[in-house]
């Protein structure tokens, strides 16, 4: 009989076992993809078993569910192409690492975090530096530098005294759940990695960063939290402004993601709480971004990495794609009944939240999302059609992956948020005091 403490490690082991077998099927793309999908599905079943076996769910349980789901959806629609093999393999490794970080405690967690950041550095280097013939963009170096700082902080957190260790851990959190000015790694990963990796990492990294932040929250001082809130406001504004002017889809989505995740940073730092609605918000933003990235990659698989303005009017030539893209964009910009709206509303309606001056900035950021997402979608779906391009609508697996993502966003938006209670944190007494801006 398996002991309860061993069960999380069995769950973590499944993706790694799957990853170990993939090289055996390297030459058969179909079989390899089936194996990877099966490994993810088995992981999902194992997580179900784990939640059933454990009487009390542990922190991060909602993410234990969502990560395999996101991995599955991101893999499902991938075309059978040899360039995608490495991405599939890396998905399993990253999924295993992510689940390990969520379940592990103490030094093992730190080691896994350092390993994950190391893998990310290697991925950025391999795909954006090593193979580049025409020089490397400055933001790639900045991304690499950002994760290198995160890696060093994760290692230092193991050896430094408690007070400094919490700062080092906060830096690790800031590289994973993007916080200005350590957001460059997040941008580099989303704009430069191949295959389904950006669509998976856009949920995985913030989820891990958020989980680490929850564990760290009771140890952070008011000054640190105030600083983080200010940086988050700067990041949200910066992300929105840059998203507005990006002609290419990937940077636009990446900076949009930065703005939305900065809102979460601001909320946690401002209220010193992370209610279940924050988990809904993070999951929904991650999934919506993942959906948009997948949708864009399905176009990229057909026409290559071209400017979004180069073609449009897909509403008649690719109706299934257009419908799903519009709905995903609506979900991403925070329209009901999807999860981003529910999470955001839920967070702001939490008793811990008190509207203040910074709330006005967040509202402007919220509005800007309507601007840059709609502008992009409008051009793509309703823009001037190109008659010289032969269009092919979504294939069944592509459609299924986007549709299921949308369905999940709908569930997140309509399900009672107490289902995500396991990830919630009540305000710690040491930092719960908050100046009230009105007098009754």
């Amino acid at each position: 009989m398996m002991r309860v403490w061993m069960m999380p490690w069995v769950v973590v082991a499944i993706p790694f076992i799957g990853a170990a077998f993939t090289p055996l099927l390297w030459t058969s793309l179909y079989r390899m993809k089936s194996l990877v999908l099966s490994a993810v599905a088995v992981t999902l079943l194992a997580v179900t078993g784990l939640s059933w076996a454990l009487n009390e769910p542990f922190d991060g349980m909602p993410f234990m569910w969502l990560l395999p789901l996101a991995a599955f959806f991101s893999l499902l629609g991938q075309p059978l192409h040899q360039d995608n093999r490495a991405a599939w393999l890396m998905t399993l490794i990253l999924l295993g690492s992510g689940l390990g970080i969520l379940t592990a405690q103490g030094p093992i967690r730190h080691i896994l975090l350092a390993a994950l950041l190391g893998v990310l550095c290697w991925l950025i280097y391999r795909h954006q530096v090593y193979h580049r013939q025409n020089g490397v963009r400055a933001d790639v170096w900045r991304g690499l530098g950002s994760y290198a700082v995160g890696l060093a902080s994760a290692v230092l957190a193991l050896v430094l005294p408690a007070s400094l260790s919490s700062v080092a851990n906060l830096i690790v959190c800031a590289t994973l759940l993007p916080l200005f000015p350590l957001h460059s790694g997040f941008i580099a990963v989303l704009t430069g990695l191949p295959g389904n990796l950006p669509a998976f990492l856009v949920l995985l990294l913030p989820a891990l960063g958020f989980h680490s932040l929850l564990l760290l929250l009771p140890n952070l001082t008011v000054t640190i939290l105030h600083t983080a809130a200010l940086l988050a406001l700067a990041g949200a504004s910066y992300g929105s402004l840059r998203a507005l002017i990006q002609p290419r889809a990937l940077p636009r989505l990446s900076y949009g993601g930065l703005a939305f995740f900065s809102v979460l940073w601001w909320y946690v730092a401002d209220t010193t709480t992370a209610p279940s609605q924050a988990v809904v918000y993070l999951s929904a933003v991650g999934l919506a971004m993942s959906g948009l990235l997948l949708a864009w990659y399905s176009l990229r698989a057909r026409y290559g990495d071209i400017d979004a303005r180069a073609f449009g009017g897909l509403v008649y030539s690719m109706p299934r794609f257009s419908t799903l893209l519009v709905l995903l964009a609506l979900a991403a910009l925070g329209m009901p009944p999807f999860g981003v709206f529910s999470g955001f509303m839920g967070m702001l309606l939490n008793p811990a939240f008190t509207p203040s001056g910074s709330f006005a900035v967040i509202m402007i950021v919220w509005f800007c999302a309507s601007w840059y997402f709609m502008d992009w979608v409008q051009e793509l779906v309703f823009g001037r059609p190109r008659s010289d391009i032969r269009h092919e609508d979504l294939r069944r697996t592509e459609w299924a992956s986007l549709f299921m993502l949308l369905l999940l966003l709908l569930v997140l938006g309509t399900a009672p948020s107490r289902l995500f209670q396991a990830g919630a944190v009540t305000p710690p007494a040491s930092v719960a005091s908050q100046s009230v801006t009105w007098t009754r």
Partner: protein, 564 residues
């Protein structure tokens, strides 16, 4: 009676019938789809009757005490206001749907259009029967997007640009509304309408806007002002009105729905929250000023447009300003009455204007200008009747009201407002009748008298009855007027200015018709010409927004350049 909430969901059935099925059967599907819409109309009428007799219907699928744990606090609350709105919405939709099946059957997007029309109707019905502020906001936002889809005409770039502009501006107002809800919940811990009104009245809150400078604001004022931004967007109030004229390339049935139903959302919102607005005089004054500006600007811009749809569009903006101004004066029920009357009138005009445009395209000489009519003889009877009905009779009514009936006009701004609206409306209608010259003068005189009688009847009996129907407690109505009361001197000045304007208009029209020429200095002539150009170009507000948008993008580009 809980089954009546299903009325709001019936149009969804229409959307399903129309959108599914074979394209070859679209005509049959469209006919079948009319049945749920008609059923929704009759259901709304039944709801109105039942609500009038038995009181409000309330269905809540959530626990109001633990509402923050639910993403969607789904609940329906149908009171008299909701029921009236439901009848208006379903009635107008039934007519528009029937008209559209004939008008648009050859259109490529026929099914899509009918489907979205039905979906919009359902969202509107859910919105007006929402049990709480969050549900109302959810459907409010959905309406913003549906409006964007309705204003779409895929093959026409100007329409597409207008649709994006519509969505962006409506999102600005949505953000204001959202901030208002968050603040309301933060201050009073509820978004249940009745509880919110009670808590706001019992717990006066003062917000410190800038503690160092001692800037403070009443909590209710802050909440109502933010929510009013939401109402401004949907009801096209200055300066968020620019989306309405830009969306005018869409098919005419869409405009009928937009101008008769969707745009009234602002008036409905203010009425739904009337007890909250009644607690803040400052907000009501702001509402009055915004409404007044919009009414004046809308009407002025309407006069300078050379396109039938734009003329009608600006006319709607002016009327919406008028409606919002009524709310700002505390006459909430008058605003609902106004929006119903305007909705029915504008729907008819828009449905007709499509045919007029088609006819004008086929016959270049259409519409014909009958010059002989304009050169007709002036009649003393017409002018005398006009003089009596617009200037003498109102004065008699005023004296009778004050002297014989002992209604204290000097203390009651509400009564003065009602009397004044009677006078302004009848004067406006009667003055326009003086243009009719080829018709027998006794007929014109009779029309003038009938107009006055109709307006007096409408205001004194129909509106009063309607006010009593919507707000049965006279003390509540009086409290709104009291809250909205303007400073005495300002009110007097406004009344005096409007009186002067009507009297001067009379004399100008009379003198002009008798061939008198007024000497206008060249500088004023030049100013008038400049003003004409300014209003014809809609005060260049579209351009201003465009420049502001470009400035934001320029800042972003500079930031990017500096960061990379």
């Amino acid at each position: 009676m809980a089954f009546l909430v299903l009325v709001a969901l019936l149009p969804l059935l229409t959307a399903f019938i129309v959108m599914t099925g074979d394209r070859a059967d679209q005509e049959q599907n469209a006919k079948a789809g009319a049945l749920p819409v008609i059923a929704a109309f009759f259901g709304s009428v039944v709801a109105l009757v039942l609500v009038s007799l038995n009181g409000p219907i309330s269905v809540r699928l959530y626990d109001p005490d633990a509402v923050s744990n639910l993403a969607f606090p789904i609940g329906f609350y149908i009171d008299r206001l909701s029921a009236v709105m439901m009848v208006l919405i379903t009635g107008v939709t039934t007519l528009i749907y029937r008209y559209s099946t004939g008008y648009m059957y050859q259109d490529r997007g026929f099914r899509r259009y009918l489907g979205i029309l039905a979906l919009t109707t359902s969202v509107l019905l859910c919105m007006v029967s929402s049990a709480n502020l969050v549900m109302l906001f959810v459907f409010w936002q959905m309406l913003s997007y549906l409006l964007f889809l309705l204003a779409h005409n895929h093959g026409h770039p100007a329409t597409l640009a207008g649709a994006v502009n519509t969505f962006t501006l409506l999102r600005v107002s949505d953000v204001g509304f959202l901030a208002g809800i968050i603040l309301a919940y933060s201050l009073y811990g509820t978004f249940e309408f009745q509880t919110l009104f009670i808590r706001a009245a019992e717990n006066p809150v003062t917000l410190a806007l800038w503690p160092a400078l001692g800037w403070e604001m009443n909590g209710v004022t802050a909440v109502t002002l933010l929510i009013f931004i939401g109402a401004m967007g949907k009801s096209a109030q200055f300066p968020i009105h620019t989306w309405l004229p830009r969306s005018l390339y869409a098919p005419t049935p869409i405009h009928a729905l937009l101008h008769a139903g969707i745009i009234n959302a602002g008036g409905f919102l203010l009425n739904r929250l009337a007890p909250l607005y009644g607690q803040s005089s400052t907000t009501l004054h702001v509402v009055f000023i915004i409404g007044m500006f919009t009414a004046i600007l809308g009407a002025t811009m309407m006069l300078t447009q050379n396109d039938i749809k734009k003329t009608l569009g600006f006319s709607t903006i002016g009327q919406m300003g008028y409606m919002i101004m009524e709310c700002g004066l505390g006459a909430f029920s008058l605003a609902v009455f106004h929006l119903i009357a305007h909705g029915l009138f504008k729907a008819t005009v828009f449905l007709n204007c499509g045919n007029v445009i088609h006819k004008a395209r086929q016959e270049p000489s259409f519409p014909q200008i009958d010059r002989e009519t304009e050169a007709g003889k002036l009649s003393n009877l017409t002018w005398s009747t006009g003089f009596v009905t617009t200037l003498l009779l109102p004065l008699v009514i005023l004296l009778v009201t004050h002297g014989v009936l002992h209604i204290p006009l000097l203390e009651s701004q509400g009564t003065v407002i009602f009397l004044f609206f009677i006078w302004v409306t009848s004067a406006q209608a009667i003055l326009s009748l003086t243009r009719i010259r080829a018709v027998a003068s006794w007929k014109v005189s009779a029309a003038m008298l009938s107009t006055l009688l109709l307006v007096v009847f409408t205001y004194l009996f129909a509106v009063e009855s309607f006010t009593h129907f919507l707000y049965p407690d006279p003390a509540e109505v009086a409290s709104y007027f009291k809250a909205a009361a303007l400073p005495g001197r300002l009110f007097d000045i406004l009344v005096a200015c409007t009186t002067l304007l009507i009297v001067l208009s009379w004399f100008y029209l009379y003198a002009h018709a008798h061939g008198r020429i007024f000497h206008i200095p060249a500088s004023i002539e030049s100013l008038l010409a400049h003003l004409y150009v300014l209003f014809m170009n809609r005060l260049y507000i579209d351009l201003l927004y465009l420049k502001m948008g470009r400035m934001v993008l320029l800042i972003a580009h500079r930031l990017e350049k500096r960061m990379s």
